[in-house]
Amino acid sequence: MSGLSLRRASLSLGDAPLVGPLDLSMSRGEVVTLMGPSGSGKSSLLAWVCGTLAPAFAASGTVLVDGADVTALPAHRRRIGILFQDDLLFPHLSVGGNLGFGLPASVRGSARRARIAAALADAELDGFEHRDPATLSGGQRARIALMRTLLAEPRALLLDEPFGKLDVALRDRMRRFVFERARRLALPVLMVTHDPEDAAATGGTVLHLLAGGTVRRADPGEELADALPA
């Protein structure tokens, strides 16, 4: 099966169960949103999926990408991209350097430069190769962060409260920017958020993480009133 699947995924911290057991699949191009209050273990679930879960957590279950079990693979070999609330651009590299960091080494020479230029053009930041990321605006940095993730040619995309730090005017634009590109690349997307508007913007399945680690599917058209603000 193509896409991203989690099978019998469960997470706990010490004796406290956080998430799961949980079965979840996103086919290519599908966006699934997982909502829940802060501290409910949403972000830890994403960290487990992409392979960077802190060892203090205990996790079990399986992560499948396009049908292949990647659970035992280290993060850098899973090809699962992730975007956070903070853009996490590397401060020592230029904008172009950050994008190059994401691009596979097999792309060389002029092809490499072209891919980076194309990514910048796609982000409406033509010619920004040599800029210091610290001189960019929040929205520009967020777009570069997405481009860097996409240049790494992921097979699935995780979004961890990705729009939380942007101001309201920018947020909507950035949502469209991210989801458009994910759809164009037919990426399975798993987003965690506590912002109902994020969920609404996806047009996809919305799940609520409840106390005790179980998940409830939101009915279509349901007012997302029970989503707690952070």
Partner: protein, 574 residues
């Protein structure tokens, strides 16, 4: 859980990295353990190479029977405790009175250059200030004192060790201030102070009652290091301390370097005694801490909110300013003398300036500076690599270093150098590498590594781990993350740790002397030797270059990232 851990730790050749902490410990503790054992043998009459074939207590008997032993022990204990208590008292008073003020921030700017100045250079410059023919006497003569010739007073090398105490205070205050500042950041002192003040506490009282009890445990090990250093220092005591009888450490040193080899036996006993003395002193200090904390409990909870005279802040700031000014003045004295022509007492300045000293000494200075640089650079490079590998291993394998590891790191800083360096030399002779530059580098590493590690550990552990995780999710393996993300982002702390390490190496006297078997000379060994009675112009020149090298290293450590990252605002110093 098993899978998550596996996923994090898989990397190319992880075994190599996994061994890093163990290898470091062996490189680091092996020589100390071997050195202690090698000193313990002759302390009980065992050193076949010079005819000690039977275990006996004779070395101890001759040590205790030495005519000046009791006075030597007394002056060691008084100078050691006095220097530590005065330094700590000054730092606490200053922080309590001036926390958050402009004076506080200004003092911080002085710390790095003061810390970089080697003990020996500072002590030599300080002697130039306070000697009977020194700058302070010149400035006050003849108009105030009536002196036209240097007075016959023992203002340096005095029997009671006052000059030694003052010299140690000059060097220890900046160090304790630095560790206190670091601790203040850890305990979120600003927020605590706000709370205390909104509860009606005057700033100084609030600091003493709320911040100090939290800060003290954080600076406890550095205080013990200061106490141990003050009790067992050799170079500063040679320059400023009493001569007859000298402190215990100097006495032991004299016997070790005597041509009469049988003196090695009581010297070894003295070296062990010094180690025991330091252990006892630390235990006594710990006991006093406990007693004071117990007695202060009622005071802390009694609710008194004022009570320090308003002038106390001014006094504390002035005293600390004087200490820092004396340090700066001491270094200035080195420069002054090295360029001085004829300079008669009580003239405040030389009759004329000249480059003659520098020209005459240039060959010697250049070759000694090169040796110092080589040894310092090598020891620092090894220490930085080991520290980085240990820290990386810690992060990658999720090793949580316990309190024991921290104590081990402090071991070479608390154990008196002289208590294991003679034994180390014996071991090096056996290995056939004594008197080589490599042996000196290894000996320096024992003292460079703890400082490099301690300086680097906090910033390294504070790396935003999401940067690394993000790089991994972009497909970068652990080594690529380490080399392409962590190292560049950490460039500044790494270089600062390297500068600290280099300054530590450049200041080492005893390790150079023992591991080098007297055949490897650095600026430090030369300056200390010359301080024994050479022309002040020559001593000034050597001590000045000795002080300049580590300063240059600091300047380079600050400048390099600023230049390299000049277009990276995200890495700018804020």
């Amino acid at each position: 859980m098993g899978t998550a851990r596996l996923a994090l730790s898989t990397g190319t050749r992880p075994a190599l990295l996994k061994a890093a902490p163990a290898v470091t410990l062996v490189l680091f503790l092996g020589p100390i353990a071997g050195g202690l054992a090698g000193t313990a043998g002759p302390a009980f009459g065992w050193l076949p190479a010079i005819g000690g074939n039977a275990l006996s207590l004779d070395p101890w008997r001759s040590l205790f029977a030495w005519p000046g032993f009791a006075s030597s022990l007394r002056v060691t204990v008084t100078t050691g405790f006095a220097a530590t208590a005065i330094s700590l008292g000054l730092v606490i008073a200053f922080c309590a009175a001036c926390h958050g003020t402009a004076a506080f921030r200004r003092a911080q700017a002085f710390l790095a250059p003061m810390l970089a100045t080697p003990h020996a250079a500072l002590a030599i410059g300080f002697a130039f200030l306070i000697a009977p023919s020194g700058m302070l006497a010149r400035l006050a003569s003849p108009w105030a004192t009536g002196w036209t010739r240097p007075p016959d007073i023992a203002s340096v090398n005095d029997e009671g060790g006052l000059a030694l105490i003052a010299g140690l205070v000059l060097k220890e205050v900046p160090y304790l201030l630095l560790v206190t500042l670091a601790a203040l950041n850890q305990v979120r002192a600003e927020a605590l102070m706000r709370a205390a003040r909104t509860l009606g506490y005057a700033p100084m009282m609030g600091w003493m009652k709320v911040v100090l009890p939290l800060v003290y445990p954080q600076i406890r090990l550095p205080i013990y290091a200061v106490l141990a250093f003050s009790l067992s220092v050799v170079d500063v005591a040679l320059i400023l301390g009493p001569g007859t009888p000298p402190t215990l450490a100097v006495l032991v040193m004299r016997w070790f370097s005597d041509r009469e080899l049988s003196l090695w036996f009581p010297a070894s006993a003295g070296a062990l005694l010094l180690a025991a003395l330091v252990a006892t002193a630390v235990a006594a200090w710990r006991l006093a801490e406990w007693a004071i904390a117990r007695a202060a409990r009622t005071w802390l909870e009694a609710g008194a909110r004022g009570g320090f005279a308003p002038a106390s802040g001014l006094i504390a700031a002035t005293t600390l300013g004087t200490v820092l000014a004396l340090s700066a003045g001491a270094v200035a004295m080195l420069a002054l003398w090295s360029f001085a022509g004829a300079w008669r007492f009580p003239d405040a300045l030389p009759r004329f300036w000249t480059l003659a000293t520098w020209q005459a000494q240039s060959t010697g200075l250049v070759s000694l500076a090169a040796t110092t640089l080589l040894i310092g650079a090598a020891a620092t490079a090894i220490a930085v690599v080991l520290a980085l590998l240990c820290l990386e291993a810690e992060q990658r394998f999720d090793i949580v270093p316990g309190r024991g590891a921290l104590m081990l790191l402090y071991l070479p800083l608390i154990l008196p150098q002289i208590s294991f360096l003679f034994g180390l030399q014996v071991a090096l002779v056996r290995l056939g590498i004594d008197g080589t530059v490599a042996a000196v580098i290894w000996a320096h590493l024992l003292f460079v590594l703890p400082y490099v590690f301690l300086t680097l550990a906090d910033p390294w552990r504070a790396i935003d781990t999401r940067l690394a995780r993000n790089a991994a999710s972009l497909g970068a393996g652990p080594w690529r993350v380490f080399l392409a993300v962590k190292l560049p982002v950490m460039l500044r702390p790494i270089l600062i740790a390297a500068a600290v390490g280099f300054a530590v190496s450049a200041g080492q006297y005893l390790p150079t002397l023992f591991a080098g078997a007297g055949r490897v000379s650095t600026l430090t060994t030369e300056a200390v030797t010359l301080a024994g009675g050479s022309d002040r112009r020559i001593v000034g020149a050597y001590a000045m270059v000795q002080a300049l090298l580590p300063l240059a290293a600091y300047a380079a450590a600050l400048a390099a990232p600023a230049i390299l990252w000049r277009n990276r605002r995200g890495l700018a110093v804020t």
